[in-house]
Symmetry: C2
Subunit: 495 residues, 2 copies
């Protein structure tokens, strides 16, 4: 293995970005394919990262007044038809439960579906829960005193996907879905934007992943929403990834499920709704934002192991370096740092170095016999792959600071990449040139019509990722139609 | 409402125990029926209690070396047939996915299943995950170095139930399922018993619910297990409830899915397995162990709100008592106590008292104008419904101690109930007398045959809950057959 070229178990990004991604996900033990078409197994190391994400998000939801609840996995088929545009977007590719019993095959080949046990109405495995939740809110809401309802659910959902990729697009995935109910439109819009901010903060401060905040065009809107807000991140191959969405649903679902409330003035009004969600797709975004040809790179906040300690030496010397590592490990644990001490003497130090690089452990601390003499240690950063010899004295606080620094620098680095790959473009020619060279976000004028949007997509495979929330007013002409435009929108090819 | 008789919104236990249970679950906002047959909605207050249970259990699993992971919701039909007894126990009543697409009804009535989108092999919504997990473990396990695998999953499962009851028996429920793989039978048995102890500790120390630990008879064993260990609790109506199970699966699933490992000696052996789980059923057990005719009673460890503070008074006086409550609330929060300050002045103190009794908040602290003068407060315990006037000085530490005392006394009370309802019985006549009067656990001799077990069940509706783990050797004769027995087993009518 050549030190400078990457881990030989991983395809390099330059050779095949898509294969590089799969290699990392599988070799770092994040997830694996399953015997069920399009479904994945989330392996312990990957799930530990997801748990950290959940924990940070869950605290943020609770800090903004939300409570968790749980609604049924199954949705009666007829519910999906109640909101006209929702059914168009969701009900088509989904898992349908039609029977509730198996019987022994009369021909002796295992079991078969019992034709007698056919459901009167088919059940759909939830692709999203607006319908089942709003049918429930009808019972929860009578008057303005019952509002707002600020509820979130952690759940699995199923969308039958033809082409799947681990984490990025799977038939079953894990997510959270917030579903709130409000007395006024203003309050619902405020909630929609507040949760977008929660997501953006999470992306930047926890995942170290900078995002654009914006609003989707009508074409890209959630099926059943008045407005879909989103955060969009840029992956290392220049493709965009939608990392979270927050929907202002207006009164669409309240009307579909007849959810009215008694106002303070004594009138009956339909309730206003929002929904918002992020999913295990974020795991894919995390991999593609920071990792390199040596393996996973993790921001310390999300790393299941933040520091690995490896004692080096032989026989008596190994005893001593091991003892020193043990001492340091408990010191670090006491500070709340997540530590692993690797004492396995069947594996060589070199093997271990490349293993923990693969796993994206932010810091590696090695103590060898010479370190012991000098009261030093070798500290290596995973992100920069820089090593330095540091004194044991004050090591714990140095490690704490270094972890903070790595977290901050990963964000800086990702932001620098994103900024250097965000282009202002004024002609179709330059637009296509960017897409075919480095990729990235393209800020370009658009005339506001679905027609031009579709035509650009057809021609270039780039879509409007969002209309920036704080769009600068700037007169210009649509790169496609030449018609007037009042500001630039964000285009990219996307996952 | 008569103070001594209970909350008028709740049916009394003596009148109709089953209705009392439903009333509590619904009126305390724990769960509700859903539009989907047999599925429930877990409401925010109920879910908050479940989250506390999850958090304590999850820590205990991690402390014993387990990691979480996630496996697919769907199981290919053929997998279920691979373990012969497993299919008998599980595959029969289950949700079967047969299609993956809906299309617009040609007759214009919403959507219908697309007959073109029929799955080649039907998918079963997991009733439990042994099969999908062991088909995955085949890829994870090559040699003894890959063992043990200690994995847990938090998930939803579906078992098509004909008669459902909120929390106790629902078509969909939430649970955790541990699935471990070991090199030896001894190690797997040790794991099975270790997790049984984790469950028993949780039941007693977190839920304040005493349990019997034991082994199931062959009749009551998990489908596919060599031995099923269980914890059994006694509800207030004298019926038993199985609160958790831990299965030693032998090599059954390894053989069904061909999971072998290379031993240190270089031979190939089948892997040994365990699985263990507890579910949202525990919520039902919690309600039925402690609650009374005034509503829910919660052990402080699991209470989402541990202390509610209610300021009383009018106008300026209310301002002062409110200020005092605020001050106390922040003092309590600083100690990590979960506090709610109820300042809503549209509701009367009396209404609030009965509301928080319904919700099972362990402690209520009321401050009125006279308290303010005397530097006192009224502290009321939910479990005993006793009130006392206490000095404000040192209140925080008094509350902390009282919460601990309540936790301990709830367990004592439940244990006293259980012990006084556990009978040694030697004749069928006495056996039936107990069942038809107070109910409870019956320790009786049994000849060890399925025949007698079935006959007793048929005659009395009582089943063998378990063979106690530490069964006293005592010669006797089976209460049914008169044949010799070497020790007593635990009978009861059960949920």
């Amino acid at each position: 293995m050549s030190e400078s070229q990457g881990n030989k178990e991983i395809t390099s990004r330059s050779k095949d970005y898509s294969q590089w991604y799969n290699d990392i996900v599988i070799k770092a033990g994040l997830a694996d394919y399953s015997p069920v078409r399009g479904c994945m197994v989330i392996k312990p190391y990957g799930y530990a990262i997801w748990e950290k994400m959940q924990s940070v998000l869950d605290s943020a939801f609770k800090a903004t007044g939300h409570q968790n609840a749980y609604f049924p996995l199954f949705i009666p088929k007829s519910f999906l038809s109640k909101e006209a545009s929702h059914i168009e977007g969701f009900a088509k590719e989904c898992a349908v439960v039609t029977h509730y019993r198996l019987i022994n095959d009369p021909n002796g080949n295992g079991v078969v579906v019992d034709p007698e046990a056919k459901l009167e109405e088919e059940l759909i495995v939830r692709p999203t829960s607006e319908t089942i939740i709003w049918s429930t809110y009808r019972d929860w809401i009578q008057s303005y005193r019952d509002l707002p309802i600020l509820v979130n659910q952690w759940a699995n959902v199923v969308r039958w996907e033809m082409r799947t990729r681990l984490f990025l697009r799977t038939t079953e995935f894990l997510w959270q879905e917030g579903h709130t109910a409000h007395a006024t439109s203003e309050e619902a819009v405020e909630e929609t934007r507040k949760m977008l901010d929660v997501y953006a903060d999470f992306a930047e401060n926890t995942m170290a992943m900078p995002v654009f905040k914006g609003v989707k065009t009508e074409n890209e809107r959630f099926a059943g929403a008045i407005d879909t807000y989103c955060i969009e991140a840029l992956m290392q191959d220049g493709k965009a990834l939608q990392a979270g969405t927050s929907h202002f649903l207006g009164q669409n679902f309240a009307k579909a499920f007849d959810v009215k409330y008694l106002t303070q003035e004594g009138t009956q009004e339909y309730v206003w709704a929002t929904s918002w969600g992020v999913s295990t797709r974020l795991m894919g975004a995390l991999v593609m934002t920071h990792s390199d040809d040596f393996g996973l790179v993790l921001p310390p906040v999300l790393a299941p192991i933040q520091v690995v300690l490896i004692p080096v030496g032989k026989n008596v010397q190994l005893e001593s370096t091991r003892a020193k590592c043990k001492e340091l490990a408990s010191e670090l644990k006491a500070l709340g740092i997540r530590v692993k001490l690797d004492e396995d003497d069947k594996k060589s130090p070199g093997w271990k170095y490349s293993e923990y690089e693969m796993l994206g452990v932010p810091l590696r601390l090695v103590i060898g016999p010479r370190d012991l003499e000098n009261q030093t240690a070798e500290l290596a950063r995973r992100d920069t792959r820089q090593k330095e010899i540091v004194p044991c004295d004050g090591l714990a606080s140095r490690i704490n600071e270094t972890l903070d620094r790595i977290q901050a620098e990963l964000l800086q680095k990702a932001r620098a990449y994103r900024d250097s790959h965000t282009y202002k473009v004024d002609t179709m020619e330059d637009f296509e040139k960017v897409l075919d060279s480095t990729g990235g976000f393209i800020l370009a004028h658009w005339d506001g019509t679905s027609q031009s949007e579709e035509a650009i997509k057809e021609k270039t495979k780039a879509t409007i990722r969002c209309i920036p929330l704080h769009q600068e007013k700037e007169a210009g002409v649509c790169i496609y139609s030449g018609k007037p435009s009042m500001g630039r929108v964000v285009f990219a090819r996307a996952y």
